[in-house]
């Protein structure tokens, strides 16, 4: 009995060890790669022990010409800034458009309510290009392609259905009695919404804002088709390090770290809401 118990424990540890090596190995490897000089990075077989250097980070941020590292004027800060602008604007617009819709879907009964809610949800399950390619034609005709406003509008497809569905769930979690008591006390619906409901869902709103921001930040396909030289985002920028003319593994790795570390820090703050967010409010983890 005791030996079989021990055996199962060892198996469990081995299983977890294997899975987490698989899950974390790649990111650790890329982090190591970002600290390698240009010779170490292309070494075959790959090096596990090397002298760390920050030259890749320098090359993509300030463009310092270190030995053997070819770099043009770095565009990476511009991509970073572009993504920051587009993702922030996207979240603000989604919040303005979506909060009231979410509250109304959560609190009131009206005709076509579930149809409207499901129409929002259905975009979550549609292939992106189905909307983006025709939108590309529309944008070309209206001059919206490669513009911040155009991309912010298009990115609503990424964040708005998400925000409405998850926030709706948070509003529904508020006990109805609290709102009813406030109505009895003479508050208008707007007073109830602003003074009671909104403060109560604050943590939920914060989580939704952060997750929407991450989804917008991570997006690739929208900016690839609808963006351009001027509005190029970070995901396209990182992809650009690996091309036909140049293969800069080290700089790509450094760019990856700069791209993901801020969002991982943000994600850790809202980790308790991530399952709920990713399932559009279906699982209240």
């Amino acid at each position: 009995m005791r030996t079989s118990h021990l055996f199962i424990r060892v198996l469990k540890i081995l299983g977890l060890g294997a899975y987490f090596t698989f899950a974390l190995g790649p990111i650790i490897w890329i982090a190591m790669m970002s600290l390698k000089n240009s010779n170490d990075v292309i070494a075959s077989p790959p090096k596990f022990v090397f002298t760390p250097t920050l030259e890749n980070y320098k090359a993509i941020t300030v463009g310092q010409h270190a030995q053997h590292v070819e770099t043009l004027r770095p565009d990476y800060p511009k991509y970073f800034l572009n993504t920051l602008i587009i993702a922030s604007a996207t979240v603000v617009v989604s919040l303005l458009l979506g909060t009231f819709a979410a509250y109304s879907l959560a609190r009131f009964s009206f005709r076509f309510k579930e149809d409207i809610a499901f129409t929002f949800l259905s975009f979550r399950f549609a292939p992106e290009l189905m909307v983006i390619l025709p939108l590309y034609i529309v944008f070309q005709k209206t001059g919206l392609n490669d513009s911040y406003s155009g991309l912010t509008a298009a990115y609503q497809l990424v964040t708005l259905p998400f925000l409405i569905w998850v926030l709706r769930g948070f509003f529904e979690d508020i006990p109805r009695e609290i709102e009813q008591a406030a109505r009895v006390d003479g508050y208008t619906w707007w007073g109830v919404f602003r003074k009671i409901s909104l403060p109560l869902v604050k943590p939920g709103v914060a989580a939704v804002v952060i997750l929407s921001f991450i989804f917008a930040w991570n997006n690739f396909i929208f900016s690839m088709i609808l963006g351009g030289e001027r509005t190029q985002t970070i995901t396209l920028g990182i992809l650009g390090f690996i091309g036909y003319e140049r293969v800069l593994w080290g700089q790509m790795a450094a760019a990856t770290m700069i791209c993901v570390i801020p969002e991982l820090i943000l994600a850790f703050f809202v980790q308790n809401y991530i399952v709920r967010g990713l399932t559009f409010g279906a699982v209240k983890g």
């Binding site: 299983g15 490897w29 819709a101 109304s104 292939p127 109805r176 991570n218 993901v260 699982v283 983890g285």
Partner: protein, 300 residues
């Protein structure tokens, strides 16, 4: 867990038009999205060539008939399903397995659970690129190097049509298995205790309890993971674009990738939209069926 359909009775609004007024801004944004969608469906019936925007002719079902006759379409169609089916099955199994290991408290379990969110929060396109480096052919790739310690010959991974799809499956499993794990963990932690105690009293084995209690009780989780992972893997794009771009020799061309080739690379907007409409239709049917199934298993 609550169902999308399990809503309590909502009160009537103070004014009848208020809910519509509140939803209106979002609805208008939605119409802004629906318009290109309808436009896209219209394009499927035209000979729209991107380089000749002045020369759009209505051609009826010609695009559909032509495409359904090509081998390329059916190859992309079956490849899409092979990919989606494989990743859904692997992610369900791996997700449940790791969730069972992380279910009980032990020192460090909270940290491990937090670390799970890392692969999910990295842009998929960047994750794919990271894996492209790890899966480099020859000894230059770190995975081949590690495999050489156990006398494995180097594999070309993404560069060989025999292993390219497998490589993509590995990448997809890396990105999305944490999603399955976290959902199963939430499910496992909300399981009722009584049936297990009753089964123990009756002397049931662990395997018996897993099969007869845990699995049936986790059905909503299984349906939910299948819903999200099936739809997202049917419309997979980013990870293929970042790695193989459909190659080598067309070994990884899915419906979404083929639509991109048709519309953007070969300028055949009409044909590209047909591929997309077929894909959209598949996603629509499966998402409808699975979300209905999900509310049904929750009501049970």
């Amino acid at each position: 867990m609550t169902g999308y359909a399990l809503r309590t009775q909502s009160p009537n609004p103070p004014h009848r038009s208020l809910p519509y007024l509140l939803t209106l801004p979002a609805l208008l944004a939605l119409i802004g999205i629906l318009y290109p969608f309808v436009l896209g469906v219209y394009y499927t019936f035209t000979n729209y060539i991107l380089t000749e925007p002045g020369n759009i002719r209505f051609v009826g079902l010609t695009n559909y008939i032509e495409i359904f006759k090509t081998l390329d379409f059916w190859k992309a169609f079956s490849l899409t399903f092979v990919f989606a089916g494989s990743v859904v099955i692997i992610e369900l199994a791996l997700g449940l397995g790791v969730a069972l290991l992380l279910k009980d408290a032990f020192p460090g379990v909270r940290i491990l659970r937090s670390l799970l969110i890392i692969p999910m929060m990295i842009p998929p396109i960047v994750s794919a690129l990271m894996w492209k480096v790890i899966l480099l052919p020859t000894d230059q790739g770190v995975l081949n190097h590690i495999l050489s310690f156990v006398r494995f010959p180097p594999i070309a991974w993404l560069g060989d049509s025999a292993t390219a799809l497998l490589s993509l499956i590995i990448i997809d499993v890396w990105i999305y298995s944490p999603f399955a794990i976290l959902i199963f963990l939430a499910g496992l932690q909300s399981l009722p205790k009584e049936p297990y105690e009753a089964a123990k009293v009756d002397g049931a084995s662990g395997w018996f309890m897993f099969r007869k209690l845990t699995l049936p009780l986790l059905t909503p989780c299984i349906v939910l993971v299948t819903l999200f992972r099936l739809i997202d893997s049917l419309k997979v794009f980013d990870i293929i674009y970042a790695t193989t771009k459909g190659g080598p020799a067309g070994a990884t061309v899915t419906l979404h990738i083929q639509s991109y080739f048709e519309a953007i690379r070969w300028f055949r907007m009409g044909r590209g939209m047909v591929y997309l409409f077929v894909l959209w239709f598949l996603c629509f049917i499966f998402s409808k069926a699975l979300s209905r199934l999900w509310t049904k298993v929750l009501m049970r």
